[in-house]
């Protein structure tokens, strides 16, 4: 009666050392296959089909490369890709231009306790929910009662700031979210505010890996703060810069939340704020063209790959080669 059980016990006693690790690690792989690999593979298959979703899987119809051909000749796709690239530059570049010097100052010039306080505050936007951010910025960008327009109106008329902001008067009040030309700057402001803290922390961590002696030696040689920043911190941070820029490229190419909420889910007038991710979402869930949306996700993937490669050639190769010498 107890024979099969006994056999199993003996077998397990002998083999458990070999198989138990696989058992313990299996939850990750099961989840990864179900929620990672399977959707990726399915979306590739889907991109060669026409599928209007409501009929279940049996209504998928093979149409070959039609979806890709449609997208590559679709003015809206190219517009959304252009929007995404413009937003990548105007929201991504300032992030790093602010974060780098900021991290440097935090690292060198502040007592540790104050440094922690500051870096925590800069990090705060990053952990705030995007929805809350966009709702708050929605009121900041308001046409008649928005805080930003009221501030600009004050600056344009106050005696002390008139010389600098007076030219704005003809443009005020600015319809930030209602006119095509202003939507991208409005979105970029929110994205910039949301993400620069993340990069600051990243650079701060990188700076803390640079040995103090290097800076001390430079000081003995008569280097000033500028020299320290330009000739020591920047070159030694190159691997971190490469990493941070890569993250920005990947993140901003998939930009969705901020423009989606700021433009009420549409992409705004003239679709000026419609990123590829928003176009993809609308194609899938508003216009139920799942195959087109899947093909779009692969085109987006390819363009992220191309940009990351360019970034590697520009920043990464040199940075990583230097690290390899160590």
């Amino acid at each position: 009666m107890s024979n099969p059980l006994g056999l199993w016990r003996r077998w397990w006693a002998r083999r458990q050392q070999r198989y138990a690790p696989y058992l313990f690690i299996s939850p990750f792989y099961i989840l990864f296959f179900a929620f990672g690999l399977f959707p990726i593979g399915f979306s590739l298959v889907l991109s060669f089909h026409s599928w209007r979703a409501v009929g279940g899987l049996e209504t998928m119809r093979w149409i070959g490369l039609e979806n890709y051909r449609f997208l590559l000749t679709d003015p809206w796709f190219w517009q959304s890709l252009g929007n995404t690239l413009v937003l990548l530059v105007i929201s991504g570049l300032p992030q790093h231009l602010i974060a780098l010097p900021l991290a440097f100052l935090l690292n060198r010039r502040l007592p540790p306790r104050l440094r922690h306080l500051y870096s925590a505050s800069y990090f705060f936007p990053y952990i705030t929910s995007t929805v809350a951010i966009s709702l708050v910025f929605g009121t900041i960008f308001g046409l008649h009662y928005g805080i930003l327009n009221q501030l600009l109106e004050y600056l344009a008329s106050a005696p002390w700031s008139r010389w600098l902001f007076g030219w704005l008067e003809g443009y005020l009040p600015i319809n930030w979210l209602g006119k095509a030309v202003y939507i991208k700057p409005a979105i970029a402001i929110v994205v910039l505010w949301h993400w620069f803290g993340w990069n600051t922390i990243l650079y701060l961590a990188g700076l803390q890996t640079i040995p103090r002696e290097v800076f001390e030696a430079a000081k003995v040689d008569g280097a000033n703060v500028w020299h320290e920043f330009w000739h020591i911190s920047l070159p030694l941070l190159r691997p971190i810069i490469f990493f941070a820029v890569t993250m920005t490229i990947i993140g901003n190419m998939q930009l969705f939340d901020e423009p989606f909420i700021l433009t009420g889910g549409t992409g705004g007038p003239g679709r000026a704020g419609m990123t590829v991710a928003i176009y993809l979402y609308r194609t899938a869930f508003e216009w139920t063209q799942m195959g087109v949306a899947a093909a779009m996700s692969w085109l987006l993937f390819v363009s992220i790959g191309v940009l990351s490669l360019l970034n590697y050639l520009l920043l990464g190769r040199a940075a990583l080669a230097r690290r390899g010498e160590e």
Partner: protein
């Protein structure tokens, strides 16, 4: 011990079988205020069918439709019955997914004569299936401010054609406080007017599925909107914004062309203090069109189609129940017989005692509907974009509509 377990299992199985025979629970996915309707008429339904339990799944208007789409695509977690609004019905019109109610055992074509024609047309798909049963409808109408018209010496009877409307609009668009800036307008937004004139979320394709967005109906809608915009007669205020509500409260827009349901929103929360100051009129130029509507559908993947069908039939084809629904939400019933009830002849206090429902009853008879096309939603987006180009960038109407037609046609079939 083992014996006890066996008996227990048998008992449980018996109980399950008995319960399965007698009681069916159907899940019904709706958005507010339809949950109040169903809760309100449920006692009457259960008096008829004591074996059917109803479980409501209520979600917000947008979330409800998104969830319905994802459950249908996955084929899991599908409700037994769901409500669908006109702005979304196109998403569900593609092959499969919803039960074709024209087939046995439903044979719902028999109910055709009960319903307002446009709602019944719209319940069909372009490939000839009947995927939905009409619950409520919304004729488009023109609301106008009695006080503003009186102050500017304008009579509503002067407006017969769209040319009259624009002519009168010049008198209704003015600077009230004398600061040199226009602060009163004829209408809230020319774009909304155009959308209602071409037929809202519908009628981009004909019965055969050909794209007809370059037809005279669209050209006319664009022309009217352009004339309004060029004469500076619209306040350019998008719907559902704080400025929109404020304009209705202050009476800074003299007319609003929208669904008859706008009255309910004005009365309940946007501008209750303006009660009695409004009037309703037919759209100028003899145009009758819809601005909304709700249908009930049954997904293919439902296990309780029969029970769900009983509830759908009860809600949509029973005039007494439709009347109850009207009393609860004020949405207009799709069953024509209900309109004969004396309640539709009563004066409406919010509209200064005007018996406006007679007006709307007249209007719905003339509204044209076409079968729902799965590409209606994308066509709506493309045509709206063409309208923006015409109004904001001055693109010629014919050119913008021809381009829109091309963009729509290259998308169909994907």
């Amino acid at each position: 011990m083992r014996k006890a377990l066996f008996v227990g299992v048998c008992l449980a199985a018996l109980a399950l079988a008995a319960w399965g025979e007698e009681k069916v629970t159907i899940t019904v996915a709706v958005y507010p205020d339809l949950d109040s309707v169903i809760e309100g008429v449920l006692p009457a339904f259960q008096a008829l069918y004591p074996d059917i339990e109803v479980e409501l799944e209520v979600a917000g208007y947008v979330d409800h439709h998104t969830r319905l789409l994802t459950t249908l695509a996955a084929g899991m977690g599908v409700p037994d019955m769901a409500a669908v609004e006109i702005g979304y019905i196109a998403r569900f019109a593609a092959e499969g997914g919803l039960v074709d109610l024209s087939q046995p055992p439903y044979n719902a074509e028999a109910y055709a004569s009960l319903f307002v024609p446009y709602a019944w047309q719209q319940a069909h798909t372009v490939d000839g299936r009947l995927i939905a049963m009409p619950a409520d409808i919304a004729p488009a109408t023109m609301f106008w401010r009695r006080d503003v018209f009186a102050e500017r010496g304008v009579s509503i009877d002067e407006i017969k054609t769209w040319e009259d409307y624009i002519e009168v609009g010049r008198r209704l668009t003015y600077d009230a406080d004398g600061d040199g800036q226009i602060d009163h307008w004829l209408v809230d937004d020319a774009a909304t007017v155009a959308m209602i004139l071409w037929g809202g979320h519908t009628r981009f394709f004909d019965q055969e599925g050909n794209c007809i967005v370059d037809s005279p109906r669209f050209v006319r809608a664009f022309e009217v909107a352009k004339a309004i915009r060029e004469a500076g007669l619209d306040a350019r205020i998008p719907a559902w914004t704080n400025e929109w509500y404020e304009a209705f409260r202050r009476g800074t827009v003299a007319t609003a062309i929208n669904g008859a349901w706008l009255m309910g929103h004005l009365q309940n929360w946007i501008a209750p203090e303006t009660a009695g100051l409004w009037g309703a009129a037919q759209l100028p130029g003899g145009i009758y069109t819809q601005r909304g509507g709700t249908w009930y559908v049954i997904p293919q993947a439902s296990d309780n189609k029969d029970a769900a069908w009983k509830l759908v039939k009860f809600l949509t084809t029973n005039p007494d129940i439709q009347l109850r629904a009207f009393e609860i939400t004020n949405a207009f019933p799709a069953v024509q017989a209900v309109w004969e009830d004396p309640i539709f002849e009563e004066p409406v206090p919010f509209l200064g005692g005007q018996p406006a429902r007679l007006l709307w009853k007249e209007a719905v008879q003339h509204i044209v509907g076409v079968p729902t096309n799965p590409n209606d939603a994308i066509a709506m987006e493309i045509v709206s974009d063409a309208l923006t180009q015409v109004l904001e960038e001055g693109r010629p109407i014919a050119e913008a509509l021809a381009e829109a037609k091309r963009l729509i046609e290259r998308r169909t079939g994907l």
